[in-house]
Amino acid sequence: MNLDRLLPNLGEWLRGIGPESDIVVSSRVRLARNLADMPFGNRANAEQKTETETRVRNAVTTANLPYALEFVDVAKLTPIDRQFLVERQLMSRELASVLDGPRGVAFNETESVSVMVNEEDHLRLQVMRSGLALDEAWTEIDRLDDALEANLAFAFHDQFGYLTACPTNVGTGMRASVMLHLPALSLTKEIEKLFRSLQKINLVVRGLYGEGSRASGDLYQISNQVTLGKSESRVLQEIREVIAQIIQYERRARQLLLKERRQAEQDRVARAIGTLGSATMITSEETMELLSTVRLGIQLHLLDDLPPTTVNQLFIHTQAAHLQKLMGTPLDGEERNAARAKYLRNRLRELGSHQR
């Protein structure tokens, strides 16, 4: 499969639409499932992993679903293609480069549904929605789970529920997460306080690319920690309530910024655009920070000639693997920084001349 055809698309999570999309980038629900009669990934030999892959692959490609899932053999992908799928949030960094042996990922045309095979668990199902749409994501993943269960016997325990390789996922096997853009709370340093209070109620805060990753570009993922003892609907309800609160805090912080330092914010946004449009070397980290400022500028109407989806496109296209695919050649760190700057300069010039 040639993954290059995905390049012009934004993927479900960056479509920039949906409820509360001024703050909520995307909603995601993930389910961990394991075959009843197979050892978990860390104790399975190559032969067992191959059998798991074959069985899941058959179930996934023949499942009775309103969309088709296309299976990609991760072991056969180039490192750039693997990184590309990680950047598009279709698979984890672990599946891409930490794990080895037979493994794969299946996803649909719109990139809203993906199934990882032979990750820490035999199956990791994922459904994405842009904006705040946890219920829709749950409904979709529940149907996907049912469809796969028609052909696969999942490990299930009367007391402990769905069994998983790590006891932190046992029970529902569900991790629901919401990705938020919180530039104003980050700016006013209130974010630390917020996160400490979230930890107390057993919610986890992580950066853009999941476990252990830094919060780049003021993007944060908030998800549940508890999977045993609370039903899916209760967990979703708890997250929804917390997210509603955080959205309120962020909106208030944004209004306060406008009220108290409009001129300074206007200046910051203008400088961000200026740097993005004129730098000759720029790291991915700096790009994400500047794009975060631009995104905030758009939401606060401090800047009106850029649609939010453009920021999303610049965001994804300047990630390492996307950039190398766009340039059509592998690039080392320095070369990437130069290519990234050139891409941003050209795109912003195009947009500028188009608008005026």
Binding site: F40, N42, F156, Q159, G161, L163, T168, L228, S231
Partner: protein, 171 residues
């Protein structure tokens, strides 16, 4: 200051291990800790975790008089299906197969309680399990019906028959 359990010098390395809600402590001086390979020779601040685990296991394995003797020693558990040993599970926190949830039950319960504050699954159940439970319930009701008939409790029998019919038509 506590004394080193090995040589009696002032202890500067203190280890605490909590298994099955039982707290166990060890105190060592720096020299003995180094001799047990707990501390690296290099200036790295990292503790040697495998050595630490090994020491804790060997020192405490048959924790005298503390563990219930009939329960057996959870640290000696090995899964007959996948071969996972307790020490391996402790080291990387991952189980090896679905069977492990039964094999390591006594050591898993405190972990699950701490992480989830719950021990009983609520929520989705696979369709196959739901069907099995419904069948079991139906068999159970039929058994009760037979008993009620045998006991000539016709009122109870009629009630049970209605419940069975209700379940059968719902299927």
């Amino acid at each position: 200051m506590p004394e080193c359990q090995f040589c009696g010098d002032p202890a500067t390395v203190h280890l605490t291990d909590i298994v099955n809600k039982k707290k166990r402590e060890m105190h060592l001086c720096e020299n003995c800790a180094r001799r047990q390979n707990l501390l690296p020779d290099a200036p790295s601040p990292q503790l040697n975790l495998p050595a630490l685990l090994q020491l804790l296991m060997s020192q405490f394995a048959p924790a005298p008089g503390s563990a219930e003797p009939d329960e057996g020693d959870p640290t000696a558990l090995t899964c007959p299906t996948c071969g996972l040993k307790y020490a391996q599970f402790r080291a990387d926190g991952r189980l090896g197969c679905p069977e492990d949830y039964e094999v390591f039950y006594p050591v898993l319960v405190p972990i699950l309680e701490r992480v989830h504050r719950g021990l009983q699954h609520h929520g989705k159940v696979p369709r196959a399990v739901r069907r099995r439970r419904e069948r079991d319930e139906l068999d159970d009701l039929k058994g009760q019906l037979a008993e009620a008939v045998a006991a000539e409790d016709y009122e109870e029998a009629a009630r049970l028959r209605d419940r069975i019919r209700g379940k059968e038509t719902a299927e």
